[in-house]
């Protein structure tokens, strides 16, 4: 039993650490980046708005796996600059996830932004709030609140998407599960992996439900 734990479960838990690390890096960087993208799309400086929109469309319109493969294996093959674009696999994966998820979050925040009634801006204006105060005190809090359920969904998808690291050979949870399956000739590791993913998504679900209740404004 102890043996079983040491040979199978323990490496998988270590792999899960990688998964969790990637999750936090991706969430913590792509949410602010997505927010900046949202602002860029709304920008009055048209070239910036268009570029951002094209970026979002491309990132959302192509598979994350393709983007990961491109960053891990494609970029280093480029002539001249390729040799400077060889990243550590995990770093490359982080870049891929951040770039991809930022586009999704941008779209989510934009939805939150356009859901805000123009009466909110008008009330703020007649109360003498500056543009900055209106944005930070009135608009953003409401935007984040509206976006919260979609952000929760996206985060749960992100946990499961980390399994794509398997394809670029970063040793995460699924990688150790597969190794154990091959070595021990048992499918149990698959189930253990499933339980670990499930635990992670459940924790996230509970956390976001709590956030939603906390900011219900009732």
């Amino acid at each position: 039993m102890v043996d079983y734990w040491n040979r199978i479960v323990w490496p998988m838990l270590e792999g899960a650490q990688m998964t969790i690390l990637l999750f936090f890096i991706a969430i913590l960087v792509s949410i602010p980046l997505g927010f900046i993208l949202t602002l860029a799309v709304q920008s009055r400086f048209k070239p910036l708005a268009w570029l951002s929109q094209i970026y979002i469309t491309v990132m959302r319109g192509t598979p994350l796996l393709l983007q990961l493969l491109l960053i891990c294996f494609g970029l280093p093959m480029l002539p001249v600059v390729g040799e400077y674009l060889v990243f550590d696999r995990f770093v490359a994966a982080c870049i891929g996830f951040v770039l991809n998820y930022a586009a999704y979050f941008a779209e989510i925040f934009r939805g939150g932004l356009i859901s805000i009634d123009k009466g909110q801006y008008e009330a703020a204006k007649v109360l003498g709030l500056t543009k900055w105060q209106t944005t930070t005190r009135i608009i953003l809090p409401q935007m984040f609140r509206v976006a919260l359920p979609a952000v929760a969904n996206e985060s749960i998808t992100l946990i499961k998407d980390t399994a794509l690291l398997y394809a670029v050979a970063v040793p995460e949870l699924l990688h150790f599960a597969q190794t154990a399956v091959n070595r021990e000739f048992t499918i149990v590791p698959y189930f253990i992996a499933g339980v670990i993913y499930l635990a992670m998504t459940l924790i996230l679900t509970v956390f976001f439900k709590w956030l939603e209740r906390r900011y219900k404004y009732e």
Partner: protein
């Protein structure tokens, strides 16, 4: 000197002329009821006064300062100062849903930083008492009835001590049984001699509370008179037709 002086105000949306050379003035302590058919430009006129719409030509002078003179707007800082003398109450309340009643009231004066927090909180509670909502200070707007929301909105606009209050159909979004409580608050304000312009369909309010009724149609002021005269002896055909349809 008039508190509000509007001369030859013109405003178009695209090629639709919505306000056609409007001139009128409002004295201190006057309560104006502004009535007229849908699309006649009442809201646009009211919103122009507080710079929610930019006019194309003409002048708006508030308490001696030109918000816009012959189509030329004052600079940003002056616009803020001038519009700061007015408060506005909207048809749909426009309370901030993520803030409690108290926070809704306190936000603007707090950000303005010209008074201590104690003074602001005291005025907040005084005003909530005045509109009969002391017990709702910590409620969120979503838990209030329409009439309560509108009373909060009125209290909120009073937090900045405006000289003029503008109302755009303050009771139109309310169930009929809730209009009374809002009209009562407005009536109290009129009795305290707050200068007010009220766009309304409430003929009863226009008649009892206003000092003057302005009737608009097709982007023009057709008639302006004290309520008795206005309702008993309307001068213009269009006024008569409107009153015939909308009153009694």
């Amino acid at each position: 000197m008039a508190l509000i002086e509007v001369t030859n105000l013109k405003k178009s949306f695209g090629n639709q002329e919505v306000l056609k050379s409007i001139s009128f003035s409002v004295d201190k302590k006057e309560v104006i009821a502004m009535i007229g058919p849908s699309g006649s430009g009442k809201s646009t006129l009211l919103r122009s006064l507080i710079h929610l719409e930019e006019i194309d030509n003409g002048s708006i002078c508030i308490d001696g300062d030109f918000l816009v003179k012959d189509g030329q707007y004052a600079n940003q800082a002056d616009i803020r100062k001038i519009t700061g003398k007015m408060g506005m109450v909207f048809q749909h309340f426009n309370l901030f849903p993520h803030l409690t009643v108290k926070e809704n009231l306190i936000l603007a004066p707090k950000l303005r930083k010209s008074e201590s927090m104690e003074e602001i909180e005291k005025r907040c509670m005084d005003l909530l008492r005045k509109v009969g909502l002391s017990d709702k200070a910590n409620a969120y707007p979503s838990n209030l009835s329409g009439g309560q929301k509108q009373r909060v909105a009125i209290a909120r606009s009073l937090m900045l001590n405006p000289q003029i209050l503008l109302f755009d159909e303050p009771t139109s979004a309310l169930d009929p049984e809730l209009t009374g409580e809002v009209l009562k608050v407005m009536k109290d304000l009129a009795e305290e001699h707050m200068t007010m312009i009220v766009v309304t369909h409430e003929m009863g309010f226009a008649r009892e509370v206003a000092n003057r009724v302005i009737f608009m149609d097709g982007g023009e002021i057709i008639e302006s008179n004290e309520p008795e005269q206005f309702f008993q002896h309307p001068q213009h055909e269009r006024t008569k037709a409107f009153l015939h349809k909308n009153w009694k």
